[in-house]
Amino acid sequence: MKRIKSKEPYFMLAPSFLLLCIFLVYPLLSSFLYAFQSYKLTAPNDIAFNGINNFKAVFQDSNFGLILKNSFIWVVLTVAGQFILGFILALALRRPFPGRNFYQAIVFLPWAISSFVVGLTFRWLLNAEYGPVNDLLLKLGIIENKIYFLSDPKLALYTVILTMTWYGIPFFAIMLLAAMQSIPEDLYEAADIDGAGIWSKFWHITFSYIKQTIILTLLLRTIWVFASADLIYIMTAGGPANSSSILSSYMFMKAYSTLDYGQASAIGLFFMALLILFCYLFMKATKFEKAGNF
């Protein structure tokens, strides 16, 4: 009886572990195996181990440099844009004002919409032939010629970044707002008595109080943004000619357009290694374990 009791937690955890094994561990292991196989769905009879050929093919791919560069631009600009604008939004919503709840509900709305809807909506808005954005800009005389947001290789990536930024602002706003609302009000009162200006109040109280939240949300968001391929896939499918592809969308394209699971898995492994490295460096740099110990 006692022995069974000591094992109880394992019984309790078993179901979730089993599900994790089925939906996480198994795919992870099989993609690890695929990465070292010639595994094309278009040639199902020729599946065999081929050593590191997939990695060779990926690293020698003429697009690979471009895609790494794009991934970097994508992560830095998107996360920075989301964070700064989200922070501003959170600060604006901190103090009560008439209609705040209604306004808050409206600006947090993007977060609740599926990325497919967001992608399709923006694709239509920014379409060069029948999109309202171009139409309005032309009619207002702001631009002379149509802007090809999604088919110009110089603009496509930034167009998706813009969309992704808009989509992610509420995440930071919600998180930071929640953190700010836990700051005791009397700290600000005390600061007022001490004659602190608006800037030093922000820096010494608001910022240092929510530092921990900032670090955590930045880490999470970076991982998510880096790994999210859906908006790119919907809006440009990585095109034109991979000018808006990042690692994760390229991996997706490899798996589902060229049906080359071997190369897609090789990209996936490389991708995972990059993320692990990033998380390690980020935690070291921000003293993650000690964060928030004033």
Partner: protein, 452 residues
Amino acid sequence: MLKKMALGILAGVLLVTSACSSSGSNEGKSSGSKNEKVEISFLDVTPSPDRTKYFNEIIAAFEEANPDIKVKMETVPWDQAFNKLTMQGASKTMPDVMNMYPAWLNTFVPAGYLEPLTADYDAWSDKEKLTSFVSNITMEEQQRKLYKEIYYMPDALMSGALFVRKDWFAEANLPLPTSWEEIFAASEKLTDPAKNRYGWAFRGARAGFDQVFAYITSVTGGETYEKDGTSVLFRPEALEAFVKFTDIYKKGWAPKDSINWGYQEMVQGFTSGVTGMLNQTTEVIGAAKATLPDEAWTVIPWPKGADGKRYIGAGANWGYSVSKDSKHKEASWKFIAFLSTPENNLKYSNAMTMIPIFKNEGGSAVDGPMQGFIDTLDDPDSYLVANLGNFPELGEFREGFMDAEVQKYLLNNQTAEQTLKNLGDFLTKAQQKYMKENPDAGVPQVTKPEMK
């Protein structure tokens, strides 16, 4: 305690089973047993409102005639169809009956995803009524000779056609084009970005290279390979043709957006009045009729090349195939045979503006514009372009590789020479490997269509 534990285990078991239960419906019952209703799934790979309406009607009629069979229709957009079917084939979840694009056979037959229909076809009562094009070319040349078996029943025939905005040509005082040279000239003259008008509906994505290649074959005499399996893309005139055709895009005679255009966008580009000329198959007639006034557009015969001959792509659009893993092969064939009766085929061909697969015995059955296509194909100057090959890598080439290469050139990231070299190398390697494995295969040939 024990009770608690038992509850915990029970909850866990329930959770897992509910998460992993598959919808196990009609597992492995033998088809055709009298009181058992079998359900077969049917996938249409190129859905449109007209097609869906037609298939719903025909399925209702079929279910009435066969009360023990139920047909469940699914659709997948054309631009994603190949990938979806490939994945379904790999995971053994292909639909029972599906629309098969003839070029996909190169991938699906060696992979063993399709059920041969040879015995059913050979015993089929309507076989004698087929036009010679279907019985000789579609069934024998393009299937039995290549794969030793029959794998699909063609739905109808189509041929390449040129859709033009008659009114634009009249405005510009231009005659309707009869040759490629006139097409290029008209592309330039009809373009007027201020009015948002462009001469040509360029297709840069999702099988866009087919459009470029259609022009290249007009200068290679319809041939796609040299005798030894080397791609014609290495010929100097192919390079010239490639540059000339892609200049339509580079010189701005097509919308800048069109580098991303697939089938749907290019058709919409024409029907919404953005582009003046469209190279598409006859099935687009319906879409054009629905959106453009009749006096604004027309369909003209495929242009002739420099040698005065017309090299045209024609053949079965799609065929009905049965998957290897189908549990109801008998019911599936019944459905295909029902779709392929002469009267249903005629109904289908007229609804879709395609050419029926049966001889026209009653006369007057074929709709007006379609007779024009049949006559064009029967013209002494018309030849069928040789195909791109029958090697398994064709799917990979068509579904990603070829368009990415052309896009690189369109965006000036790669020279034309390099582009054709990359494309030619892929094709040559695959074709020569195929010829080594199939010594009596030879290279794809230019043939003469016999529509009567």
